[in-house]
């Protein structure tokens, strides 16, 4: 019976157990990070080192050629701009629309509230790709395929349930007494909203929009299906690059890094909120 793998910190642990645990922890971290490291390592290697039967574990002649090659690819820049435009539209719309619904759920007691919560929770679970066929036909019917707006609309639906749900949590976190105090002092409901709820939800709005950004930025199947190569985002560009230049590993990995940077940076900033957003209720405190 292993003594070192139980979960609780108590007094009087064996030293050997601690050494085992620490070694295991370090090994685990190394194994986890290795694929990430290998992407970085490859991206900075010249082609000769990438296509070597005895791979080196660091770039011996570091170069930026792979990045130049990826950035110079003809669809790179348009795809990046498209991705930013689509993401901005979807996130902004989801934030405005979602905030209103979140306000209703968090601050009003009304008939039908539970039903709305149920809908918001349920649609988060619908496998969205399953709806791609009818969505494609619908958008084609109104000539919105091969447009940025069409994709942004689909992304809006993708982001909306999560946005409502997370903002609801942030608004509920604002003590109701603040609202009441303001109203006793003569504020109207609208004033309470503008002067208390909105400013105090600021961090929540940032976290939610960053999460929305990540979701929209990482999506590539929907946009790949709805749009032609001239209306793709960076993630779809990456997939396209994979099929086109399947074995140019250096530029591929460089492209993967460029595509990931905004997401990774944003993610690391708001990671706390993501973890709690998904499981909030189960962890009290």
């Amino acid at each position: 019976m292993a003594r070192h793998d139980d979960g609780v910190v108590t007094v009087g642990r064996s030293r050997i157990g601690t050494v085992f645990a620490n070694t295991g922890g370090i090994l685990f971290g190394l194994v986890m990070i290795f694929p990430v490291y290998w992407v970085l390592n490859t991206a900075f290697k010249p082609d000769a080192e990438v296509r070597s039967f005895t791979p080196t574990f660091w770039p011996e002649n570091p170069t930026l050629d792979n990045f130049r090659s990826a950035l110079g690819e003809q669809h790179f820049l348009p795809s990046m701009v498209n991705g930013l435009v689509i993401t901005a539209m979807a996130v902004a719309a989801a934030l405005v629309v979602g905030f209103l619904a979140a306000l209703a759920i968090a601050r009003f007691a009304f008939y039908g509230r539970k039903a709305i919560i149920l809908v918001v929770l349920a649609v988060q679970l619908v496998p969205f790709l399953a709806l791609l066929i009818p969505l494609f036909l619908m958008l084609q019917g109104v000539n919105l395929t091969n447009t940025l707006v069409g994709v942004a609309l689909v992304y809006l639906v993708l982001l909306l349930p999560y946005t409502v749900w997370t903002l609801r949590g942030f608004i509920s976190g604002i003590p109701r007494e603040l609202d009441e105090a303001a109203m006793i002092d003569g504020c109207t409901r609208a004033q309470v909203f503008w002067r208390i709820i909105l400013p105090l939800t600021g961090p929540g709005l940032v976290a939610t929009s960053v999460y929305g950004f990540i979701q929209a930025w990482n999506e590539f199947i929907i946009i790949n299906t709805l749009n032609d190569p001239n209306h793709q985002n960076l993630m779809a560009w990456l997939l396209y690059n994979q099929t086109e230049r399947g074995t140019a590993w250096g530029p591929l990995m460089a492209g993967a890094i460029i595509t990931s940077i905004p997401v990774v940076v944003f993610f690391l900033i708001i990671q706390r909120n993501i973890a709690t957003g998904l499981t909030a209720g189960a962890v009290k405190g």
Binding site: R3, G7, V8, G17, G25, F28, M32, P35, W38, V39, S52, P55, V97, L100, A101, L103, A104, A106, R107, A109, F110, Y111, G112, R113, K114, L118, V119, L121, A122, V123, V126, P127, L129, A130, L131, I133, P134, F136, L137, G141, V157, S172, R176, M183, I221, M235, L238, T247, A256, T259, S260, V263, V264, F267, L268, Q271, L278, T279, G281, A282
Partner: protein, 321 residues
Amino acid sequence: MQAVDSRPVQAPAPLKTADRSGARRKRDTRTAWLLSLPTLIILIGMLGYPLYRMIVLSFQNMRLRELFSGATPPWAGVDQYAKALTDDVFWGIVARTAAFTVVSVTLSVTAGLGIALLMRRVHAKVRIFMMVAMMFVWALPQLVAAQAFRWLTDSDFGVLNYLFSKVFGDEWLNHSWFVNPWEGWAVITTLVVWAGIPFLAISLSAGLTQVPKELVEAATVDGASSWQTLRNITLPILKPLLTIVTTLSVIWNFGLFTQNWALRDSHPEPVYQTLATYSYTQAFGRSLYSYGSAISVITVLLMLGVMVFYIRQMFKIGEVD
């Protein structure tokens, strides 16, 4: 608290607790619905209606001709469903998707729990290192993670073959990982588990901090072994959270698309198809839109039980007040 509230929905008290007249409540309901309206319209229009269209489509026979002409596809009754349900290929894919889900969820939840427990035993610096490593993995876009694994397992220059050849011998040089489906699926499963561990380990480790120390100490004083403490104290307290993260993992992994799609260069061979990729390939690869829809409908139906369970669980633990 205020006097007993007789409203049917027991939820946040209205803003002005002093004033609870019927008129006020009516106005609240109207305002709340007005605020929710945009969200509801979008969800109905872009989610509810497509869902309805998908179901209708699955009873028709829509091909490329109808797509271009805009004509109403001919009615097909239950033909699409009959076709799927009598097709061994389809059942093979159902079985494969289910088996993958069971294996990958079991592995990742067990590993996540193990790591969460391990994190309580290690030195603070080691714990930070583990957290940082997991954060980077978690932050990585799915497609990029898949690309990374595609490169690691490349038959010519992949580092995995290099390492295997050093350890197990030269027959691993130029080894193709996707010729044998068991090996290919092992790669895909590893990728999914690797990418899934951070969410699981970090959530569960947050959950572990909620286990009261006094209980554990009392058990230890009473002579409980580490294993008994884990089984009888830690796990029961962790159970609601464990249930939620397991359910989420089931929902996510059952819908596997990105990983097998990217690792098989956007053209998964039959043996690498899952329900999600199969439906997609039928619809957009072969223009069998109705058949693809029928498969999607079946997929959603198969998931329904898990989804209902998840929502009930959310209500039960009081997340939804």
